[in-house]
């Protein structure tokens, strides 16, 4: 392959790769400001379970759930952090009280596997598109290796003509 063709392919890939990477970074960015907010009952109820009911605490109204909510409210009034409250709940009810997997040990895989899978899929898609472009996909057969971004040849002329008609 000539350097010119490689350069054009790389340019095309850059066009979609940059937004894709930006989206990926935004998706992976930690919600740091939210983690520093003071805990509220409403927030914690949505992150822990009612062990007896098997539902989120915020959906539960059983006597056990009422006691659990009172326990959380008391810890909040004592100034405990969200992490300390969750630790206290785990000490009382075990790990299953957490609605979200823990960020350590085997449970960490619940967070890591989707991210790794996303990155692998993104890289695979990138390589796939590059190979497709090199193979001349989407362009006229005779100009496949030189296909720039956007329409070429007759398509480009027709597009220019259409745009000229609408040129105010």
């Amino acid at each position: 392959m000539r350097p010119e063709a490689v350069s054009k392919d790389a340019g095309c890939v850059r066009h979609w790769l940059a937004p894709a990477l930006l989206i990926a970074l935004l998706a992976l960015a930690p919600a740091a400001p939210a983690a520093n907010d003071p805990p509220t009952l409403t927030k914690i109820e949505s992150q822990v379970m009612c062990p007896v009911c098997g539902t989120l605490l915020q959906l539960a109204e059983s006597p056990q759930a009422q006691r659990e909510k009172a326990f959380i409210a008391r810890l909040i009034s004592e100034g405990r952090s969200e992490g300390q409250i969750k630790d206290a709940l785990v000490a009382e009810y075990g790990n299953e009280v957490l609605a979200l997997p823990q960020g350590s040990g085997f449970s960490l895989s619940a967070y890591v596997v989707p991210i790794v899978a996303f990155l692998v899929a993104a890289v695979a898609l990138g390589f796939g598109v590059m190979r497709w472009r090199r193979a001349g996909g989407g362009g006229p057969p005779d100009e496949g290796r030189r296909t720039p971004c956007g329409p070429t040849g007759e398509d480009a002329e027709r597009l220019e003509a259409d745009l000229a008609r609408y040129d105010l």
Binding site: P63, Q64, R67, A91, E92, N95
Partner: protein, 166 residues
């Protein structure tokens, strides 16, 4: 093909791991160490090997548990000793609430804590209270899914216990 096998394998694993738990009459009672509700340390059924044990699953938020507690305490005072004990297991409950419950009803029999409900699950309980009479060999001899009454303890449990030698 491999994907289909993986999915089927996961389904089978899920069914097996969710499989039925619990005990039936005549079966060995499940036993694993649990923290004591008061005083620290751990305890288990094995601590009472050679005794009849009435295992009582309860929780402080459970209304029927409050109703049966006086009858259990009275039965313990009448029959507790080297041949028999009631063993309370406070399940899926806050430890402070559990200790307050023990104080309020003046319960003198030993109490263990089953915060995550694993022991209750192993016994196959569907709620609280539930009661299991375990013989000295560790086999389940009586099973009551619900609160005991003084009448039940007198008519069903007491006749199974060895007579006290005076």
């Amino acid at each position: 093909m491999l994907g289909v096998l993986a999915v089927v394998g996961l389904l089978v694993f899920g069914l097996v791991s969710k499989g039925s738990s619990g005990v039936a009459l005549g079966e060995a009672a499940p036993d694993s160490p649990l923290p004591r509700l008061e005083g620290g340390g751990a305890g288990s059924l094995a601590d009472y090997q050679g005794r009849w044990v009435l295992v009582n699953f309860w929780a402080s938020w459970c209304v029927p548990c409050r109703q049966e507690a006086p009858a259990l305490e009275e039965f313990q005072r009448g029959h507790g000793g080297p041949r028999f004990t009631v063993l309370g297991i406070d399940s899926r409950d806050l430890s402070d609430d559990g200790r307050e419950f023990v104080r309020r009803y003046g319960l003198s029999y030993p109490q263990l804590r089953d915060g995550d409900g694993d022991a209750a699950h192993n016994f196959g309980t569907t709620g609280v209270p539930e009661n299991f009479l375990i013989d000295p060999a560790g086999k389940v001899r009586l099973l009551l899914r619900g609160p005991v009454t003084a009448e039940y303890l007198r008519d069903s449990v007491a006749p199974m216990l060895p007579e006290e030698k005076s």
